[in-house]
Structures are given as C-alpha cells and as structure tokens.
C-alpha cells in the first residue's frame, strides 16, 4: 500500500514536470521579445514597483511575468535572469518575497471570485501585503545603492 502511495506521488510528480512543457516556447518568446527590445520597455513600466524595493530594472520582466501569469512562469523567467547573473541572490530573494505573496493575479483572482468574495479587494490586499513585506526584506537584505 505504501508502495502504491509512493508510485502515485511519483506519477503525479512526473506529470507536473510534463505539464511544464510550455516553458520551452516561453523561453523562446522571451528571447525574441528581448532581441526586439521589449525588455527595456517592460522594465520601465515596472520602475515604480521596483525602485522602492531597491531592485534593478532587470527584475522587471520576472516580476511582470509572475504577476500576470503565475509563480511557475515567473520563477522560470527568474531562473533565466538568475543564470545570466544580472540579479544577486539577495535581489532574487526580495523579488520572490513580493511574488510569493502576490502572483498570478488574473487566474487566482478569477478562481477565488468564484468562491463568492470580492476579487478586487483580494488583489489589493495581496499587492499591498507583498509590497510591505518585500520592502521590509529589501531594507534587511539590500544595501542602499
């Protein structure tokens, strides 16, 4: 019986990874957008969010991705940005503190609105909470630049 549980868990783990197939076209798309010069644009839109958190413009794309589509997607992008070495471990942590609390605002809000509450209120609560905690983390982890 325990073996069966382990097997079921293994299968669902493999399925989770298979379900991430869309990361491949995503990475291609990000590269294309970058080459076309959209990265700089996205980064500029996110400046009001990034500046108080002491994050550089390079954090713009992962934050936008995480907010719009979800943490899985955002983490995929952050992974790529992290590998490129543009963000330090501390900067990644601050960005992830914000995204951990506030991400996938479209999908998750629609789902929970179906649960019978005010979706807009929930988004607002998450965004404000995320900013407060990420602000705190940035003061503790990142030096003034």
């Amino acid at each position: 019986m325990v073996l069966e549980w382990i097997w079921d868990g293994f299968v669902s783990g493999v399925m989770k990874i298979v379900a991430l197939w869309w990361l491949v076209p995503l990475f291609v798309a990000i590269q294309v957008l970058k080459d076309v010069g959209w990265l700089a644009k996205v980064a500029r839109w996110m400046r009001p969010v990034l500046a108080p958190l002491r994050l550089p413009g390079d954090a713009g794309l992962p934050v936008v991705a995480g907010l719009a589509v979800g943490l899985t997607y955002g983490a995929g992008v952050i992974l790529q940005v992290g590998e490129e070495g543009k963000l330090s471990r501390a900067e990644l942590t601050v960005a992830c503190v914000f995204l951990g609390i506030c991400h996938a605002v479209i999908e998750e809000t629609i789902l929970f609105s179906a649960g019978g509450t005010n979706g807009l209120l929930l988004v607002l609560i998450r965004a404000v909470t995320g900013m407060i905690f990420a602000f705190g983390a940035s003061r503790m982890l990142l030096k003034q630049t």
Binding site: V2, G9, I78, G115, G116, G136, A137
Partner: protein
C-alpha cells in the same frame, strides 16, 4: 510530490487540520477552515479552493480565508520553485506564512 502524496494518503493532513483547528477561532473562522489552509499548502491551490467552497461560511469568513489562501499556498511546490530559481526559500516561505496570519487577523478585525 511524492512526500505530499504519502502524507495525504496516510491521513496526516486531517490530523494536522484538527491540531490547527482551535487556532482558527483567533481569525474568526470555524475549525474546519484549517483543512482549507492545510490542503492549499500541502496538496494544491485548487484543492484548497475546492475545500473552501465545500464549507458553509459567511461572506466575511470567505474573504478572510480566501485572502489567507491566496497569500500562502503551495508551501512545498512553490517554495521548491523559488529555491530552484536561486532565491532564499526560507525568506520567501517565512514572509508568506507571517503575512497570511497577520492579514487573517487584520481582516477579522477590520471587516464588518
């Protein structure tokens, strides 16, 4: 996923929920609400949502619980993701849990 599934099948989650139940009163929630938080964090976001919808709750309770689940869910899967990305996972999970409890208490106090 292996760990989560074994915990689930072995019946650890209901036990954990019962243990957390009394603490829910601090948040103006019934004891069963703990099951929502536990399934959202140890199984999946969707499991948490399904559990939430199965409970008979007032608007205020649904709002408090929804906000808590949205701030902190997928404690295992999402934390693993963040760690893989290169962030300090302890910070991310820690802030989410603290934020969840504080927001729950704040909403219970503020909402009509």
């Amino acid at each position: 996923m292996v760990v989560v599934n074994v915990l689930d099948k072995a019946g650890v989650l209901p036990y954990l929920s019962r243990a957390l139940g009394p603490a829910m009163a601090l948040l103006g929630l019934p004891g069963e609400a703990a099951l929502v938080l536990v399934s959202a964090n140890f199984v999946s976001f969707y499991a948490g949502l399904a559990t939430l919808m199965a409970l008979a709750l007032t608007w205020k309770q649904v709002t408090i619980l929804s906000a808590m689940v949205m701030i902190c869910h997928g404690a295992i899967s999402e934390t693993a993701l963040v760690a893989k990305a290169g962030a300090r996972a302890g910070w991310v999970l820690g802030t989410r849990v603290v934020a969840m409890v504080l927001i729950g208490m704040l909403l219970n106090w503020v909402l009509p």
